[in-house]
Symmetry: C2
Subunit: 532 residues, 2 copies
């Protein structure tokens, strides 16, 4: 089995070579007019971790590890902060134990042990959190991280209802592999797809493949099963219900603070047979936003409706740096999408967008076309490559991250201006400049989900302080502009201060009351999402 | 201002005439081979209510009433049980006070007064509950029903985001009247549309106009504002968010147990310009279900996709009693629906459905067509007339009601059989026979929402006992078959025993913890949804 890198995105075998890193250093040096050297990458033998503070009972030894590499891998997610700390071998607070329960009885055993001793019990899916979602609390005397990797099976497929019972530790590719023989797909493709799990998606309200209509994993959950310290929380399989507040909607977004999701019945799709796509250019981001808005308000519900601002359109799809690019895509397992793309392009043009008829790609002919069809493909590749590219520049002083939110259309222009201004001026202060770009990852009839990317060159060794000031400025601007502190990256530890400002006061107290009820010892992922 | 009838659906002026009731008695006598007489309908002067048990403070007098008619109207919803009891002038437990707060300060004043004295505080919208959703608790020493009718205004319209801030006491027709000049519509048309309110819809997770995709009011709520005894619970206006569990989803379905919803930002629609519809016949309900399933799984998302079993298709649309009818409708404010209906009809036919091309109605030509297009129209009229028709037979021993649920497609045949069998055998026992029919009110990719109607002739004076045995049998069958005790009628007092079986155990405890936190005196609608 291939091992995950303890500092980089992906596997150890996918870590960048010295030559790739030297080329990146040369490229950064040219771009910023400095002279950078690629420092050596860390290796396992460099790891120096605090010894485990707690002693495993013999009955748990068969599925628990106190191995140094294991504990390092489970210390951090893959945010900018995480990558800097891992690259610098800074692991002051690793988990004491990594448990890998093989069945629900062992999950219950771990939770009982933690509840009895007051150890923090931290659910772990694929390790891709960018918000400190499974980072051990600093004030705990013992931390057990519960890696659900053994829960990796599609247990049942209901072809008639198009639903599947899937274990929560299933990684994206593995669950798709098991659905494929049935002609089915979950089609939930967050950027973290390779290294994230169903349980993680549900616990964090992950945002997926579909840019419109059913965007979050939430809408695909037919029922969920969660083990809490007070017992099993399992909803019925129902296509819809009006019986009381939704029990699943309290599981979604609970981020491991209430229990561990072990499996869920998920709504799955027929695999697409019909596709259609178009890349429409606009003279400005604002004009493109109008185009995206008209399409999503028409309820044509394209699978893709992603708007790239001129900076992103240039970097990802080779446009001229002045035009925005709206990528529209339809797909269906059941009905041809020719008319849908025709209607969407008509609306896109009415809003001032430009596209040649020849550049509208319909089912079957993708891959053989160039032009803006090529731009669509280029953007998709770039999306999947992005996390790996950050490995290459680690340790060279680059300060880069993404910041995402959602906002209603009427307030979007103000938010867009405020966040760009906050990011740019913080980059100017911290990094003597840098770039800020934005795209819409998802669009709703009542507003977009803007996703900002910023990048600058900071000082090696001071990246974290610089990053924190920039992140603070952007988050303050989002909250002041009426946005949400996260559309699909979750709250974790990172976003907690702004989440506290955002959520309704009595709801915050209600959440804590729920926590005290199902987790009376307060051991489940303490300090994530809220403080008791 | 026209007054509501205290016993019948609708206004006093809409109560049936003696002649209408005599004709109905004659018709029932013919149908059942008995000799029925229409008893006189009750009038206001017949009402004998327990005097109010509590004394209003002077400061509340301007907006509170202890009038007998007011207290009678606010005693019961409009279920079968409610109509029988009201018709029989059986009002043993009316509210003591009907408050009509004119602003949020007065809402807070009422809740404070109730919290201080331990009086039950019962939110009241349009009074259309069929589940005892606002029926006063039997064990309370004082009951204040809070009628939100003064909160009847659309406060803001955001044309760009297609959203509107609407006060919770707004009735369906009033809020549509205020949206119409903006070219907008909420398009939430439950059968109770005329006598139900936005706040009631949100509190009970009402099911509306759209038969697919966004079916419940839930999906149209952008943000909600609720006054709890512990303060204001208000979410941000957001098109989507992934920050913690959704605060709105805990308000939806709370049925007045946590607080009073005062307003909400709602997602509204462009008024439809393009329409298309078709009525497709099938040789059986099962075959029609296959047709509905294929259409909804294709994600064409028709606004209407309602399947009537042969009994309903005969009664509502004049079919032959052997065929089922699938009513398919598309509508859009933005794009023509010709291709959508063509694709849906193709799928409907592939599943064995029959329709002539001439009977597919497209935008503009509705109303001028006959045939199955006529069947579509007949069904719609019948849907809106239904609640009034029950007024006509009140007091004649008819036992009739609807029972609704949702279930995944794989388990639907079993549930359909079990519920029909339970209803029919209970009707046979209680009423020496009767009719059971079913339609799908909403359909999802993973299952339908079946809606059963039963009717029999019981014994005058024993209708309630007979009804309760029938309802019990059907509800037991639903829960045993894996369904939900309600898809869109809510839990209230009526469904509580089955809801307790259905909901996840720890979630039930969590709900109670939330209640204790935001309503520490336990005054909000006690005994509805759950017992503390």
């Amino acid at each position: 089995m291939q091992r995950r890198s303890f500092w980089a995105w992906g596997l150890e075998s996918e870590e960048p070579t010295l030559q790739e890193r030297q080329e990146a250093a040369a490229e950064l040096s040219r771009r910023y007019g400095v002279s950078l050297v690629a420092p050596p990458t860390p290796v396992e033998t460099d790891l120096q971790l605090r010894p485990p503070r707690i002693t495993l009972p013999a009955s748990m030894e068969p599925f628990c590890s106190t191995d140094t590499y294991d504990r390092a891998v489970h210390s951090y997610g893959r945010s900018f902060r995480d990558r800097v700390r891992a690259f610098n071998l800074h692991f002051p607070n690793p988990p004491d134990v990594v448990a890998r329960p093989r069945n629900e009885q062992e999950v219950e055993q771990v939770l009982e042990w933690c509840s009895g001793h007051g150890y923090a019990a931290i659910p772990y899916g694929g390790g891709s959190s960018t918000v400190g979602g499974f980072e051990p609390p600093a004030d705990s005397d013992g931390v057990v991280t519960i890696d659900m990797a053994a829960f990796d099976w599609v247990l049942e497929v209901d072809d008639v209802s198009r639903a599947a019972r899937i274990q929560a530790g299933s990684y994206g590719p593995a669950l798709e592999d098991q659905l494929r023989p049935h002609g089915l797909t979950l089609r939930h493709f967050p950027q973290s797809f390779q290294y994230s799990t169903l349980g993680g998606w549900i616990a964090t309200r992950s945002g997926g493949h579909y840019a419109t209509n059913h965007t979050h994993i939430d809408d695909f959950v037919e029922s969920a099963r969660m083990i809490t310290p007070s017992g099993v929380w399992e909803s019925r399989r129902l296509p819809g219900s009006g019986a009381g507040p939704s029990p699943d909607r309290l599981v979604m977004g609970s981020e491991g603070t209430l229990g561990i999701i072990t499996e869920a019945w998920m709504r799955v799709q027929a695999r697409p047979r019909y596709r259609a796509s178009a890349g429409v250019t606009y003279p400005s981001f604002e004009a493109g936003a109008d185009g995206a808005r008209h399409i999503v308000q028409s309820k044509l519900w394209p699978a893709n409706c992603r708007l790239l601002d001129p900076g992103e359109a240039q970097a990802a799809a080779g446009l001229d740096g002045a035009q925005a690019l709206l990528v529209i895509g339809f797909e269906s397992g059941d009905v041809p999408q020719d008319e849908a793309i025709r209607q969407a392009v008509k609306l896109a043009r009415e809003a001032g967008g430009a596209i040649n008829d020849d550049d509208i790609l319909v089912s079957g002919d993708a891959g053989t076309r160039t032009g803006r069809g090529g731009a669509v493909g280029a953007w998709r590749d770039s999306f999947l490559r992005a996390p790996y590219q950050k490995n290459v520049t680690s340790g060279m002083g680059v300060v880069e991250e993404t910041v995402e939110t959602a906002i209603t259309w009427d307030r979007w222009p103000q938010l867009d201006g405020a966040v760009r201004e906050a990011l740019q001026s913080a980059l100017d202060r911290m990094c003597r400049g840098g770039t800020v770009t934005c795209r819409f990852t998802h669009v709703y009839p009542d507003g977009p989900a803007p996703y900002f990317t910023f990048s600058g060159l900071g000082r090696v060794g001071a990246e974290l302080e610089m990053y924190e000031e920039i992140k603070q400025a952007a988050s303050d601007a989002i909250i002041a502009s009426g946005g949400t502190i996260t559309h699909h990256h979750a709250v974790g530890r990172l976003h907690k201060p702004w989440y506290e400002e955002q959520r309704p006061g009595p709801f915050g107290e209600a959440l804590k009351a729920v926590k005290r009820t199902v987790d009376p010892s307060g051991v489940m992922n303490p300090g994530v999402l809220f403080d008791l």
